[in-house]
């Protein structure tokens, strides 16, 4: 939340963007000899002030799905509906969709181009046709969210470290104040410290802005730690959709489609096999510890 002139917290947007996919299919190279169907009849609604995780094995259609959300790709069949209107109804207005649904692609640091980090972050707001003062506020705000030191803003983006570059690219999208922020593998290729830093800043951004954030990730631990809702994809379809507890408790079904569950879920399952059943919905170490001590308490009570 931002603060208004009286110091009270106000959300960025009074309305909450909602993207709805209606029977969406997508085929690469449609009609050609090498056509590949990446998405098959998907219907889903995304939005609300929460962090949504999309996971799936390589080639399950995650990246295709996120590129449909802001009109980088056009569905072969079906509709993408943003706040009640089909985004392809007027293809000339597709830029407005991209400002509302911010997309950070995989390895976004390779897209930095401008002379200074400040100018690069300003690229989006500039394309939105904002005044210089407004752009400056947005750049500073985005840099703060992405945990970039103000001192870095006047450097060339190519002088930054890998993690800093990634966060500068993230700031470039946040600066557009999207109502929905979509990130494709935001932590890929970063060291553990870098992972925590960028995911932490994304979570903080989500809470503070009150917008929806969608992250695509391979890491079950990241999903369990940061997401409120998890969507599992397998061969172009949605296989599961629910809370972390819902999804990870069905881990017998996740393993066959090449996905794993957080390690602590494995530990809980192994314990259950040995007769210590603390429940199937274990996906964070903290929760597991709480349940274990409850369990111990109960055993002690029963023995006495």
């Amino acid at each position: 939340m931002r603060k208004d002139s009286h110091g009270a917290k106000v959300p960025w947007h009074t309305t909450m963007a909602q993207v709805e996919l209606k029977n969406v299919s997508f085929t690469y190279g449609d009609g050609g000899p090498y056509a590949v169907r990446a998405l098959d009849d998907i219907s889903i609604t995304l939005g609300g002030s929460e962090m949504i995780g999309i996971m799936g094995h390589t080639g399950s259609g995650k990246s295709t799905l996120v590129q449909l959300l802001n009109g980088i790709l056009k569905p072969s069949e079906g509709q993408v509906i943003l706040d009640g209107t089909d985004i392809w109804e007027n293809p000339k207005k597709i830029r407005d969709v991209r400002f509302k649904v911010g997309l950070v692609m995989q390895y976004p640091e390779y897209q930095l181009f401008d002379e200074t980090v400040r100018d690069d972050i300003a690229f989006g707001p500039k394309n939105m046709g904002m005044t210089r003062e407004e752009i400056e506020t947005r750049v500073l705000e985005a840099a703060r969210f992405a945990r970039l030191d103000e001192g870095l803003l006047d450097k060339s983006p190519f002088e930054l470290s890998g993690g800093q570059k990634r966060r500068a690219a993230l700031a470039g999208v946040i600066a557009m104040r999207p109502e929905l922020l979509v990130l494709d593998e935001p932590a890929a290729g970063l060291d553990p410290g870098g992972r925590l830093e960028i995911l932490g800043s994304i979570k903080e951004y989500q809470k503070e802005s009150g917008t929806s954030v969608i992250i695509v990730s391979h890491s079950m631990e990241d999903m369990a730690m940061y997401c409120d809702r998890v969507i599992v994809m397998a061969s172009g379809r949605i296989m599961m959709d629910g809370t972390c507890a819902d999804v990870f408790s069905q881990y017998d079904e996740l393993l066959p489609v090449g996905l794993d569950v957080p390690q602590i879920t494995h530990v809980a399952a192994a314990l259950a096999k040995r007769g210590v059943d603390i429940g199937k919905d274990i996906y964070t170490v903290k929760y597991a510890a709480a349940r274990l001590s409850e369990y111990a308490e109960e055993v002690r009570r029963r023995e006495s």
């Binding site: 590129q67 802001n70 980088i72 830029r95 991209r98 400002f99 911010g102 997309l103 950070v104 692609m105 976004p108 390779y110 897209q111 930095l112 181009f113 401008d114 690229f123 989006g124 394309n127 939105m128 190519f158 470039g172 999208v173 557009m176």
Partner: protein, 274 residues
């Protein structure tokens, strides 16, 4: 922006041409080009067209693919022929309007040039690019040019450069597409505005593209050095090229074609000569 380029792409198959020694295909292409420029009259052009059709038939490349590749070059073919219509002076004047004079010879010449370009492109692209993988092609070229090493020309380096350039074309196309998408996601607009605005809009694509090309080049150089690459000196090959009697026969066929064309040029006499 359309980044689909089908002209000059390898097209998988298992025809006689696909299996032929790439060196022989290169020699045959050179012979074919010479033959094309020997043709001077209706008969010889008919034979040329026939030979191009035969080439298409034995390569088993779908005509659809070849036609799609030629479509991209329509402009060049039209442009060169139209210039010829106005340029060539002859005896039979057809149109005379101010400074524009069109002669029968000019039109015939334009037709001939268009035919030559089309046959040349179809023939060489079938012999070399459609039926030969880039690696086989550069391998063949390297060995054909090997005698030039005596003159201390860097033949191996030259062919390695070609291999790498060909190898990275699809990679760079993919990269360009990705960068374009990323900048589009930030509201970049490549298709509207004045010419200068559009040129400016390319900066956010070109800067990351060049950087990534340099980065790839450096990584590739390191990877090659890690595998002890030191150039062509003392290098042995996994695929050794073997020219069989069939390959020699194929080349001989082009020499014969040349002879036939020279004969036909005389046979037609001067009445049909263009």
């Amino acid at each position: 922006m359309n980044l689909n380029i089908s002209f000059g792409q390898y097209c998988e198959g298992n025809s006689i041409l696909h299996r032929m020694d790439p060196r022989m295909k290169i020699i045959a292409s050179i012979l074919f080009i010479v033959v094309i420029f020997l043709a001077k009259n209706l008969f010889s052009f008919a034979l040329l067209i026939l030979s191009a059709v035969v080439l298409i038939a034995i390569s088993a490349i779908p005509v659809r693919i070849i036609a799609r590749g030629m479509k991209a070059l329509t402009f060049i073919i039209l442009f060169t022929s139209i210039i010829n219509i106005f340029w060539i002076k002859g005896e039979t004047e057809l149109v005379s309007f101010g400074f524009i004079h069109i002669y029968l010879e000019g039109i015939l010449n334009a037709l001939m040039i268009a035919l030559r370009i089309i046959i040349l492109l179809v023939g060489t692209s079938i012999l070399m690019t459609y039926t030969t993988t880039p690696i086989a092609l550069t391998d063949g070229l390297e060995q054909l040019l090997a005698p030039l090493k005596v003159l201390h020309l860097p033949v191996h380096e030259f062919s390695m450069m070609m291999t790498i350039a060909l190898r990275f074309i699809p990679t760079l196309i993919e990269e360009t597409q990705k960068i374009m998408n990323a900048q589009k996601a930030r509201g970049a607009d490549f298709s509207t505005g004045s010419l200068i605005q559009r040129a400016k809009a390319l900066v956010p694509i070109l800067v990351p593209l060049f950087l990534s090309a340099f980065r790839r080049a450096e990584e590739l150089a390191t990877a090659m050095e890690c595998r002890c690459y030191t150039g062509g000196e003392g290098r042995t090959r996994m695929n050794i090229l073997h020219a069989t009697s069939k390959d020699y026969l194929f080349c001989a066929a082009f020499v014969l074609l040349g002879a036939a064309i020279i004969l036909l040029n005389r046979l037609g006499g001067y009445a049909l000569a263009w």
